[in-house]
Amino acid sequence: MKNTKQSFSLFRILIKAVLFFVVLNFLFILAKDVPIGNISLYNLVFPGRSRLPFGENPSLAYNLSMYNLDAMISSHTVSSSEKDEDYKVFLIGDSSVWGFLQKPDVTLAGLLEQKNQACEKQPVKIYNLGYPSLSVLKDAMIIEKVQHLHPDLILWLVTLESLPVSTQLNTPLVENNALLVNKILSEYGLHGLQPLKTKIWEHTLISRRREIADLIRLQLYGVLWSATGIDQEYPSQYTPALRDFETDLTFHEFEIGRMDEDQLALDIITQTIRQHKETSFIVINEPILISKGRNSDIRYNFYYPRWAFDQYREIIQAEMDESGIKYYDFWNLIPETHFTNSAIHLDVDGESIFADKISTLISENCQKQ
């Protein structure tokens, strides 16, 4: 009799626990739009990060790759930039903007910040909002998420590798932000890309456990970020970018010799800029490595055969002119010796040359909207 009573009581507890768990998961589905990532210790207990969280080796980088854009932006100094007295310049782009292998103060944004520029007597404040993946859709997502911080000028650095339509949805940050991606595709009228499929259970607590764990981890890494100022692994040696190539003329799935404009996601750039009329935009074709090695007569670098990049430059220039978007082409600005481990990553001297150029651009385009 006693045993039956005990089993019954245990059974009731189990049922209650299961019910509680189901209800909790259901509540998470209802709260799928709640920006939990906005809860952050950065800019409050810890200083904000100089660039968005990204880390392939968290234990050495004191940083991690995550997918919650709200949390990423909340951990950034940009989130504490509510002050209106600054002229706020946001740098958007790929790993070259983020600053692979470079300490925060010698990235493009870091060097620009050190120039202490002013715009109509307002101090110019530069924010590094680059993120290491090649997709302009990912850039559009970041732009959408930081609009509430009222940027005065957005410098959008692009390269051909971030433009093929076929690769736009393939980066982890895009794949794991279906709600935001679909919102952008629908509101910006980007019909060339298929919306991402979302399933109801993807919003449950169980499915979001990794996201929540990453949020907590990001806060914990705040201690070592504050203690060391380190946010990426700096290897003592790295493999330099390739200078010698095979006789390969292919570029993604493009027909060799013909850069099809429809296969480039330039509409993401034009529509994003159109969508955010209150902000000034400048689109910049970022510098690439122009190799002098074997088969460099047919390829500029690991990413680009010459035919593809040459045609792309003409296409983007025409598209930007047609859309009335300020556009600058700095593709050949940096000598080959200033590239590090990739055809778009610069060393400090390369960043410095680039920063001088961008600094002039900011001065020329400086006007408060």
């Binding site: 245990l10 968290p58 914990l220 201690v223 070592l224 203690a227 060391t228």
Partner: protein, 475 residues
């Protein structure tokens, strides 16, 4: 121990308890303990080492059991089923090598059947010799203690462990260039050695315990406590084992489940989160100011406690589900008012072990020695050497010696201060506020002394430790 191990152990405990007082329950505890020993041993780059280490532990346990039992022919007859099952398990595991199951290679890397048979025959011959031959049990007991300590030194002294790895690789015809101390990770050996020495020393001092081989093996390799203890005393464990059915009540089950959940929270959520702020050479070099260094030190101190106490709670909880009460290992140590209290609350079963088998005998020896030493000297010698030994138990290097010295000196100074203050101050302070403040300050000072001590513990070299101290104090 991973979440998978814990889940399997909980399930095993549930099955065993559902068997009640049936003999099968006891056999299951025995079998699961043996199999867990092999399962928990990580696969080593040295071929088949992860098979041989547990096998050797089983062999040493059988020999120890023979030592502590009276030499009688009936001993084998009364334990014949266990004596059959043990070699069957050892040979059976080696047969997995031929099962062609790829997933097993991540768990165990067994030896060839011929070697397993040779090993079993050798142990059987030794057992036969011990029963029938003239091998003195007391000599055998001494030999077993020496073997246990020598193995301990071999796996805790890194240069020796590297040499051992080199020798084992050579024996296995593997590249000796890759030999490293990390390859010989003998999971659970420390606790195994403590239990073995405890049993032998008790037997040597005349404390007899009647226990069959099955229960003895279950005690030595009790699956919830293989990796991180606690170290139960054999007579208590035997009592708990025999009376476990009385402990399987709803209240016990709730309490045990609570302990498991609390342990999982401490270990896998809190301690693992704090491990993101490690105290190591890199972070010490990179840390930019003393405040952050203090935060890193505190995070490490908390992590160490939560990690270890979490494991202990899981072990106590799983064991509680079986109805077997294991001793407590931690009692809010960081809230201790002085070092003596701290060492009575931190890793309790280990300190009790050292007190019983080292500190007390040494104190007795010195006190009865023909040359009489002053009391302060006796306290210094016994406390310091005990703490040095506890330090060496963690690893034989200068940093663990420094950690032992730090704590030994702390204990001695506290002892002297207590003696002195007893004579000079009246301790019965009636003012609650003053008493509370003194208590808070004492806890704060004790915690910080212990936390600073962890610098020696966590850093790989004395030089790194000194750099850490310099940063902590802003130099």
């Amino acid at each position: 121990m991973t979440i998978l191990h814990i889940a399997v152990f909980i399930l095993s405990a549930w099955i065993i308890r559902s068997l009640g007082e049936r003999p099968a329950a006891m056999w299951l505890i025995f079998a699961i303990s043996i199999l867990s020993l092999f399962w928990l041993q990580p696969v080593s780059p040295i071929r088949t080492l992860d098979y041989w280490l547990p096998a050797m532990m089983i062999a040493l346990s059988i020999l120890t059991w023979l030592v502590i039992n009276p030499k009688q022919e009936s001993l084998l007859a009364n334990n014949q089923i266990t004596l059959i099952i043990l070699p069957v398990i050892i040979i059976g595991i080696s047969l997995l090598r031929y099962a062609q199951l790829s997933f097993l290679s991540a768990w165990i890397n067994p030896t060839k059947i011929g070697w397993a048979l040779l090993f079993v025959i050798s142990i059987a011959a030794l057992v036969f010799l011990m029963i029938k031959g003239n091998i003195s049990q007391s000599i055998m007991a001494r030999c077993l203690i020496i073997i246990a300590i020598l193995i301990f030194i071999a796996i805790k002294y890194e240069p020796l462990t590297t040499k051992l790895s080199y020798a084992l690789r050579k024996l296995n015809h593997q590249s000796t260039d890759l030999a490293s101390a990390q390859e010989i990770a003998w999971v659970g050996y420390s606790y195994f050695a403590f239990r073995l020495i405890h049993v032998i020393r008790d037997w040597q001092t005349g404390r007899k315990i009647s226990i069959n081989l099955r229960e003895f093996i279950a005690y030595i390799f009790y699956f919830p406590a293989i990796i991180a203890g606690p170290i139960a005393r054999i007579e208590n464990f035997a009592y708990e084992l025999q009376n476990r059915a009385n402990q399987v009540t709803q209240a016990h089950t709730f309490e045990s489940s609570k302990r498991i959940m609390h342990g999982v929270l401490c270990k896998f959520i809190l301690a693992d989160s704090l491990s993101l702020m490690p105290l190591n050479t890199t972070t010490v070099q990179q840390a930019s100011g003393s405040i952050w260094m203090w935060i890193i030190i505190y995070a490490y101190a908390l992590r160490l406690y939560l990690d270890f106490s979490g494991y202990t709670e899981i072990a106590i909880g799983i064991s509680g589900l079986l109805g077997i009460k294991l001793p407590e290992n931690f009692q809010r140590p960081y809230l201790s008012e002085n070092l003596t209290i701290f060492w009575n609350r931190w890793h309790i079963t280990l300190t009790q072990w050292f007190r019983t088998y080292y500190f007390n005998p040494l104190t007795r020896f010195i006190r009865t020695y023909r040359v009489q030493l002053p009391a302060a000297w006796i306290i210094f010698l016994t406390q310091m050497s005990t703490m040095l030994l506890i330090g060496l138990w963690h690893g034989i290097n200068l940093n663990f010696i420094a950690w032992g010295f730090w704590n030994g000196l702390g204990l001695f100074l506290h002892n002297r201060w207590s003696e002195w203050s007893k004579q000079h101050f009246k301790s019965d302070n009636k003012n609650e506020w003053v008493a509370g403040s003194v208590k808070c300050i004492s806890i704060f000072l004790t915690f910080n002394f212990i936390a600073l001590g962890w610098v020696w513990f966590a850093m790989p070299t004395l030089n790194d430790s000194i750099i850490a101290f310099a940063k902590l104090f802003g130099f």
